[in-house]
Amino acid sequence: MELVIDRVSKKFQNKIAVDNINLRLKKGVYGLLGANGAGKTTLMRIICGILRPDRGTTTLDGYDVSMEEYRALLGYLPQDFGYYPDFSGEDFLLYMAALKGLNRKQAKRKSEELLELVSLKEVSRKKIKTYSGGMKQRLGIAQALLNDPKLLILDEPTAGLDPKERVRFRNLIAEAGKESIVLLSTHIVSDIEHIADQLLMMRDGQMIYQGEWEEHKGELEEFYLMQLGEESIHV
């Protein structure tokens, strides 16, 4: 399983959002760090095939990003996760499962399993508009995992989760990373520290660092700020 991003670039009017990115990712968890406007979300959208780059290609095991076979292997949780307010949680997962290609039996089984996993089983028949922000986020995580994706793209997945839920989420992702490629972008450095096998750092559309992170390298936050060319702030 290999995701190949080859010389991908994207420009919006006068701003270069993604600048000649080259990546080869295998199984594992990759933490994507970067300031606001660094190009993380744009890169993720390109990888998910919902934004066409100006240049370059993205393939997963030889399948181009535009192909149905590519999307069949993909799980995506966007930063601003949209939902249908009058659907129940269960309805939403069954709908998403149908979109992802699961048949009814698989969809039912997988939905029940994931609702249990993200602790939404008891409210699964209630309308999503009654859910709290954290519950909606957990539902979003559940839909991303429906098709046991080989490529899991998570954009700010822990936003809105309380500390306990965040820990559960990290365990979930760590487990997923054993069999899949997980690309996770976040501002919460501690999320990366605990689960990412490799770090990717972006600034102004460019990949400025790619490598493994180990504790002996010091505080990740300081390292991150150093890479961005900013001094750390000590309180």
Binding site: L51, Y76, G82
Partner: protein, 379 residues
């Protein structure tokens, strides 16, 4: 197959879960019912006594049924002129379509009546600036019309035709409210990121959405049609199916029965339901805003309904004449201009369905292209 039925089911659920859909349908349904029974709420005076509208309708029906089967000739016209009991009101109304002045009606005879009709038709040829070929076409059609006309009581079909004309604007409103969000809401809610990134989120989902929208639009139209039709025929009767079209549209040269025309109108309305549904969803994806879709739909309807090109501007005038708002109204049948295709002339009501089918296919394909190529960026 490809989970199409599941996706179709959920797309219908999305449409029907909106309160506005049920509210607008309920209001329009109430309108249709009121149009059907509204006449029954009035009362009239006859010979100093109050008569309910229902009694009036029953009387008119009885009088008209007594006259059914008789030719509108000198004998019947003389009886009409001598009558002061309103028993011949149905005949009087037909004569009045052609001869407006009461003074002239008092002196009308069979020859004068049908000559007036012919003169009116010839004048329409001039007013509408028909070509020689078109004039020859209509004169040939007119030669096949049997004169004098045989009267049949067709009030029920008149009500049905009125229903169809009014249904046109109701459909625009109902389908606009129901279907304007089919694609637009995905962008508004930002669920487009999830669905476009999924395996069946492009081609299969597009057709599931289209299918759901067409189903809801067509079913809503059928329910309204059914309600109005049942009321029209229950109150006024379904007599006169084989009556000549000229009893309803006196200046028409079509050799068609009232019943056959009604069936054509019914089929035409269902085709319009399909066209409006597809066009609304096309706009929904193109404009990505339900409010903008409604604005465009209503704007287009009213512009095409009220605006007219003078006949001397043949091409734009004839194109406008093919718009649903122009065809499905009382004067729509009066457009005598023809479309010539491969040496054959087609009337508006023959050419419009061909045009509408082509438009439906174009909107479906163009909408699919827009939908599949949509890029989520810059937000």
């Amino acid at each position: 197959m490809c989970n199409f039925s599941t996706l179709y089911f959920y797309e219908i659920k999305k449409i029907l879960q909106k309160k506005m859909v049920w509210i607008s349908f309920g209001i329009i349904f109430a309108f249709v019912i009121f149009m059907g029974v509204g006449d029954l709420f009035f009362s009239y005076e006859k010979d100093g006594a109050k008569v309910s509208a229902y009694e009036k309708i029953v009387n008119e029906k009885e009088n008209a049924r007594e006259l059914s089967g008789r030719e509108i000739d000198d004998s019947l016209l003389d009886e009409m002129k001598r009558d002061d009991t309103k028993k011949y009101d149905a005949i009087y109304q037909i004569v009045k379509y052609l001869i407006n002045s009461d003074e002239e009606i008092r002196n009308v005879n069979e020859s004068k009546l049908y000559q007036t009709r012919t003169d009116n038709i010839e004048q329409m040829f001039i007013d509408q600036r028909l070509t020689e070929g078109e004039i020859a076409y209509w004169r040939e059609k007119e030669a096949d019309i049997k004169i004098p006309f045989t009267y049949e009581y067709t009030r029920g079909y008149l009500q049905f035709i009125d229903l169809i004309y009014n249904l046109n604007i109701f459909m625009v409103v109902m389908l606009g409210i129901s279907l304007s969000g089919v694609f637009a809401d995905e962008h508004f809610r930002k669920t487009d990121q999830l669905i476009l990134g999924s395996r069946y989120g492009k081609k299969i989902l597009y057709f599931a959405k289209l299918g759901a929208g067409i189903s809801v639009g067509t079913l809503g139209t059928v329910i309204l049609l059914l309600a109005g039709t049942v009321l029209a025929f229950a109150i006024y009767g379904a007599d006169g199916f084989h009556g000549v079209l000229q009893l309803v549209i006196i200046k028409s040269s079509w050799q068609l029965s009232v019943g056959a025309m009604s069936i054509c109108l019914l089929a035409f309305t269902l085709l319009l339901a399909l066209l409006y549904s597809v066009f609304t969803m096309f706009l929904s994806e193109g404009l990505k805003s339900s409010a903008a879709v409604m604005a465009v739909l209503l704007g287009m309807f009213f512009v095409t309904f009220f605006f007219n090109f003078p006949y001397q501007y043949r091409v734009p005038s004839q194109i406008l004449g093919l718009m649903p708002a122009k065809i499905l109204r009382a004067g729509g049948w009066a457009d005598l201009r023809l479309v010539k295709i491969f040496g054959h002339y087609l009337m508006t009501y023959q050419f419009a369905p061909v045009l509408y089918f082509a438009a439906i296919v174009i909107f479906i394909l163009a909408g699919k292209r827009m939908y599949e190529r949509f890029q989520i960026g810059g937000r």
